[in-house]
């Protein structure tokens, strides 16, 4: 039967299985009504806004999300969420993607996707009640203090250390590649609290206020000329003794758990964004009259195949989560799949752009990471910047090489690599 919804290439219809879709119909109607009533008339996308209007519009939009309970919907109501199901959360992602409406700000990403779920799983009752509502409201904006000049892939090698003095942790050292540190008022960080034990055993997951004299943030400009990365220097910076997530010296366990939380809903959001991006790229190829080129036909078809694998892989992960299974190594699979796909498809995009790519014109890309803004109109500059930004995808949040080690060791059960002998 031709022409069924499922037969529409990259349709914006729900990707949820029908049984789940039926359960979420009334919430879907609510979300649609919210979007219809609150998006500006004739809304295209964040990417279509002038660069200087974006920040203000986004801040106002985020406020509306809070007022209408359209953010962190799957968090429990007592901690500022809406107590909705994971399937309803996915429904919101779908409807927002279809309307090209942002679900949060870039600076929220870490708190919403990583820290929040980790606090929910491992935080004390007091931490949940204090910290989660402030994430929802936007009062707290968190950055992640993991990497250091000497600790990238060897994350457990961090040297920034904290010592307890009169009920305060005193922090000294340096973090690097810290996304949004210049916009955040708090940092969750992995710091060394015991140098006498093995490197994994002496780490603590510390929550640190950013607005204090002991912290200095210096910008790092990325390959697109954008500022979103930073270096952060700690000179006797302080935080309260109670600002530890998990146990003192139990930070490695918290950090490992946190990596697992970038998972099903994030995978679904990535899939939706990648579908939108590919839909737009196909349109660019048509507009430029290059769809008869065999290499481009084959490249776009393979991109579609890859996006289908990412989409249905994300749905498998969602299904596992709905059955109450803890997030597993599928987050490593998803990370490799989307980030490496994104490098291939943005390479293909420049092939499709042809000489246009030599002289980037038009609006810049709306985000620094992942795909360009959903539904954004054509701009050669944006495609070129997204191509460059895609290089970072296989590096941050665990390089492709580290993710392959994780798959080989934790999924396939291959023995650990030989470690250099030394002290």
């Amino acid at each position: 039967m031709a022409g069924t919804l499922k037969d529409q290439p990259l349709s914006t219809e729900s990707i949820l299985p029908e049984d789940l879709r039926a359960d979420t119909e009334s919430f879907r109607t609510e979300v649609r009504a919210f979007l219809a009533n609150n998006l500006p008339r004739g809304w295209v996308s964040v990417g279509a806004l002038a660069e200087d209007e974006r920040r203000e519009w986004l801040e106002g939009w985020r406020q509306k999300l809070v007022e209408h309970g359209m953010i962190c919907v799957a968090w429990p109501a007592e901690y500022g969420g809406q107590g909705r199901s994971l399937a309803e959360h996915v429904t919101l992602l779908e409807e927002f993607a279809r309307a090209a409406a942002p679900t949060s700000l870039t600076v929220d990403t870490l708190a919403l996707n990583l820290l929040g779920p980790t606090i929910l799983a491992l935080g004390s009752e007091e931490q949940k009640r204090e910290l989660l509502p402030r994430i929802v409201s936007g009062e707290d904006r968190w950055c992640q203090g993991y990497s250091e000049p000497g600790a990238g892939s060897d994350l457990a090698g961090v040297q920034t250390h904290a010592t307890l003095r009169d009920g305060r942790w005193v922090v000294n050292g340096q973090k690097i590649w810290t996304t949004s540190a210049h916009e955040a008022n708090r940092m969750f960080a992995l710091v060394r609290t015991d140098r006498s034990v093995s490197k994994h055993a002496g780490l603590t997951f510390l929550l640190i206020p950013m607005d204090q004299p002991g912290i200095e943030v210096r910008p790092i400009i990325d390959l697109n000329g954008h500022h979103h990365l930073n270096e952060v220097f700690f000179t006797d910076a302080e935080t309260d003794e109670a600002n530890v997530l998990g146990e003192v010296n139990g930070g490695w366990r918290v950090a490992t758990a946190l990596l697992g939380y970038e998972r099903n809903d994030a995978a679904i959001r990535d899939a939706l964004n990648l579908r939108d991006e590919l839909r737009r790229l196909i349109q660019v190829a048509r507009d430029r009259g290059v769809t008869g080129d065999p290499a481009i036909r084959s490249g776009l078809a393979q991109a579609y195949i890859d996006v289908e694998a990412i989409t249905h892989g994300a749905l498998r992960g969602l299904d596992a989560a709905l059955r109450g299974r803890a997030p597993g190594p599928e987050s490593s699979l998803h990370k490799i799949m989307w980030s490496e796909y994104h490098q291939r498809v943005t390479t293909l995009a420049l092939e499709i752009l042809g000489d246009d790519a030599l002289t980037p014109q038009g609006r810049p890309s709306a985000t620094h990471v992942n795909t360009d803004a959903v539904n954004a109109p054509y701009s050669s500059r944006s495609w070129v910047q997204t191509y460059f930004a895609a290089r970072a995808g296989t590096i941050y949040a665990g390089t492709s090489e580290i993710q392959r080690n994780i798959i080989a060791e934790r999924v396939l059960g291959l023995p650990r690599s030989p470690r250099p002998v030394g002290p």
């Binding site: 037969d7 023995p415 030989p418």
Partner: protein, 371 residues
């Protein structure tokens, strides 16, 4: 419709896996690879007793019932141990083709015979100029005289064509493409076994000289139905490829844990680890789209065009990567006759070509995307 398996389906997969692993060993594969008919009689009977023949075909059409998801799970497990059997031809191609063509009483009986293991059936796959072509038909001539059909022509590479008691063929007629059933043995049918790249899947050249034929599906063009039959078989083949790929990776990983060089298991070296991780990625990507396609195949109205091509391209590439990677990780023993790795590479290459190569399927996807 959910891509997830139910508890019952998971149980079914476990049962089938342990049955086949216990029942179909490497020596069985070697024996059948050397045989002419490629069929283990006792295993065929066991399939009858376990009610696996004609799986996924509705009971009121003479089949065993169950869904394409269960059939896919069985095919995955059959692929894992490379079961040599006319099962693919008989159930996946023929029984499902007959069921899709509004069978009349006699044709429902055919399915019944397939179900009870009494009849091996097959279907000649559409091709054009010696290449797979979803819309092609063999260069056959079908003629009707006094209400009876006769078909003539030569069919190449008919899967299990030499042992089949029923061969379905697609031929052009005045009404368009139609499907005919040719019963054998018959003096007007000469089936000659041919040597195959994959020794675990037998093929034959079939010459039809005015062979009596039964028309299926009424006096109408069957192009759309044939396309759907072929798409579903393609999805079934992809499920089989998934299982073979999984087994290649398991074998490579087992070997990499045992084999020591430089005083270390070779599996501790990143060059080996990353190759295994890449194979795992390819398999899991394929698994997501193969099960998506299987679940679509259970829905009567769903279009399978894109899903089947996505599944077949992904599963072909996963199996080729896994079969070649397994040989490389096994080193010298991997290229020996004595080790079974070569059977998987032969299955990989043959299944990659059968029912359309990844390049063919990418082009189909490109057309479906209206490029």
């Amino acid at each position: 419709m959910s891509t997830a398996l139910t508890d019952e389906q998971e149980e079914f997969q476990k049962t089938v896996r342990s049955f086949l692993e216990g029942r179909f060993k490497e020596e069985d594969l070697r024996r059948l690879a050397d045989s002419e008919d490629g069929r283990d009689e006792a295993l065929w009977q066991a399939f009858t007793e376990l009610e696996l023949h004609a799986l996924g075909v509705p009971e009121d059409l003479g089949g065993t019932g169950g869904s394409w998801l269960e059939l896919g799970l069985l095919l995955e497990e059959m692929g894992a141990v490379l079961v040599a059997s006319p099962y693919f031809a008989s159930t996946v191609l023929a029984a499902h083709a007959i069921a899709a063509l509004h069978p009349e009483e006699r044709q429902i009986e055919w399915i019944g015979h397939i179900r009870w293991g009494e009849l091996v059936a097959t279907m000649a796959l559409p091709s054009k100029n010696g290449r797979w072509d979803a819309n092609g038909s063999a260069p056959l001539r079908a003629e009707r005289a006094e209400g009876a059909w006769r078909v003539s022509g030569v069919l190449h590479r008919v899967i299990d064509g030499a042992t089949a008691g029923l061969i379905l063929v697609v031929a052009p007629t005045a009404e368009g493409l139609r499907v005919f059933g040719v019963e054998c043995p018959h003096p007007a049918v000469v089936a000659t076994p041919v040597s195959t790249l994959d020794p675990s899947r037998k093929m034959a050249t079939v010459e039809l000289a005015n062979a009596p034929a039964v028309a299926l599906g009424g006096d109408v063009d069957a192009s759309a139905t044939v396309a759907r039959i072929v798409e579903r078989a393609t999805i079934g083949l992809a499920a089989e490829q998934l299982g073979a790929a999984r087994r290649c990776l398991e074998a490579a990983v087992e070997y990499a844990k045992d084999r020591h060089q430089h005083g270390q298991p070779i599996g501790s070296f990143q060059a080996i680890k990353h190759r295994c991780a890449d194979i795992f990625l390819a398999i899991e990507s394929a698994r997501s789209v193969v099960f998506r396609a299987l679940s679509l195949a259970t829905e009567p109205g769903a279009s399978l065009t894109a899903a089947a091509s996505v599944a077949k391209a992904s599963a072909s590439e996963a199996l080729s990567l896994a079969a070649a990677g397994s040989i490389q990780i096994h080193g010298g023993i991997g290229v020996s006759w004595e080790h079974p790795a070569h059977f998987y590479l032969k299955r990989a290459k043959a299944s990659e070509i059968l029912l359309g190569s990844p390049a063919d399927h990418r082009e189909r996807v490109a057309q479906w995307l209206a490029l």
